[in-house]
């Protein structure tokens, strides 16, 4: 399972980084989403990977899973979701204003 999770984080990060470096806004946004998935899985794994163990106190439990990373992941998901929404709106506004969706700005001498 460790191998699966680790390679999932790796592949998501690689794909996210590649897409982030594209020059149109749409792939960049997709890339950022992939990166945020990668980091969420990574955070989840930072509390060690265990299966079928409760996160809260219980008399019958054989062991526990760490509940804190789950709370951290929840926060991170909410924040990255909100940020992506803002980014989409700004990208849309920029596209409607400029009639193209390139990420680059014009240089120093422009405007």
């Amino acid at each position: 399972m460790e191998f699966l999770v680790a390679s999932a984080v790796g592949v998501l990060t690689a794909a996210g980084l590649y897409l982030t470096l594209r020059k149109r806004t749409f792939p960049v946004i997709i890339g950022l989403s992939l990166l945020s998935y990668a980091v969420n899985v990574f955070l989840f794994a930072s509390g060690r990977l265990v299966v079928n163990l409760p996160p809260i106190l219980s008399d019958t439990a054989a062991g526990y899973t760490d509940p804190l990373p789950q709370a951290l992941v929840l926060t991170a998901i909410v924040i990255s979701f909100g940020m992506t929404a803002v980014l989409v709106v700004i990208a849309l506004a920029a596209f409607l204003n400029a009639d193209d969706d390139a990420v680059d700005t014009k240089g120093d001498s422009a405007g």
Partner: protein, 510 residues
Amino acid sequence: MTHWTIAPIVLPAMLAALITLAARNHPALQRVLSVAGTVTLFVIAVGLALRASTGEIAVYELGDWPAPFGIVLVADRLSTMMVLLTATLANAVVLYAIGTGWDTRGRHFHALFQFQLMGIVGAFLTGDAFNLFVFFEVLLIASYGLMIHSGGTARLRAGMQYVVYNLLGSTLFLFALGTIYAVTGTLNMADLAERVATLPEADTALIRVGATLLALVFAVKAAVLPLHFWLPGSYANAPGPVAALFAIMTKVGAYAMLRFFTLVFPPELGATEGMFGAILLPAALLTLAIGMIGILGAKRLDRLAAYAVIGSMGTLLIAVAILTPQATTAALYYIIHSTFASAVLFLVVDLVVQGRGAAGARIEAAAPIARNGLVAAMFFTAAIALAGVPPLSGFVGKLLVMDAARSSDPVWTIWATILVTSLIALVGFARAGSTVFWKTAQLDTAEADPAGPAGSTVLPLVSIGGLLTLLVGITVLAGPLTEYVGETTRQLYSPSQYIDAVLTTDEVAK
């Protein structure tokens, strides 16, 4: 436990909600609320700073959960100093925004402004690494809104880049926190400091990775070369008063570096020893060089101001990277100077750009603006402060940094870089200023647009004048101020005070 520690976070948060909900169609009411809130924030900040100046470290436990289980806010000397700095700057910026009418050129300026203050103040006060991330996001999401305030193609495009860059930074921050949590099992800064110090040998490699990632995140915020690319475009395209407020945002990165690398990863810690000297110092020197050369090379005034910010961050980070008590004292003095000086430059540039009409921000001769002489004097005062020549605070700050550098190995490299880049900046400012303000005389003055921007013309000058007075003030009072930040440094370099205050519950319970 008094509740004053959380007041500077709660006040702007409540006010922003109130402005959005109750005053959304009443610009005048928004202004009144926003100014009243910012002034109150300043008063609270002064109170907190006075309390901290006795050496007391006030700890506020959210929800009354004891550390390290709950989130804590910690108001020590450094935090309260930064909060006071933020509040002072905010007052000048909000007056300027109202005076020039920037706040009415789009919706929700004041609400976003208050949220931005909440994020910045929260980042300074928090004692929890994950909470720091959350406050970073609060200040960023408000800054996205402020950055594209009043719209326009270039601004939206630049805003898009700014958001993408900062989202990448946030992702990196989460990776860093995940790594650190995986090794230590805590994210409370005081608890982290204790656990990192007693970490087994086998885990040092991983904590080194975590510390490096964290330093990278803060370097993105502080615009250290080669992670500075987001800054010129976004600051140059942001509305003037917003860019002036952003002058404190790069300092959040510098603050976080100082906090983490004196408390959690102190200089004598084996795992991260020498990291700053080997990596951050050369990067800071290059940042300084690129910033000052950028001033000389800029074709637009707003870009020039943005590069001036990069340059002053370079000087500041040299002092941070040396990481001795003397250098940190210099860094803290320089933080105050650099915040005010960068902000005032952005405001003056905005005044010029607004007054010039078609010529805009381009550095070329155009018809003179209203009050050409006065604005020129303000521009050159800000330039003198930022270039670091006598008699203003930039010079004092630079002397302190250079004096602190004497104990470090690459002293001649540091001295040469600082002195040569000062000269380059001086030439750059002189070139831009003389073209914009003095070549105007040869042109037909009838071209000048007498209407100018809407809004009061006195308030912006009051705001800029106030900031310039502060610059003069920190120059004249450099002695007492250095003593004050020296005390702050002593508190920073004895982290046991901070750790005891957070983790000893009976001291907190009083």
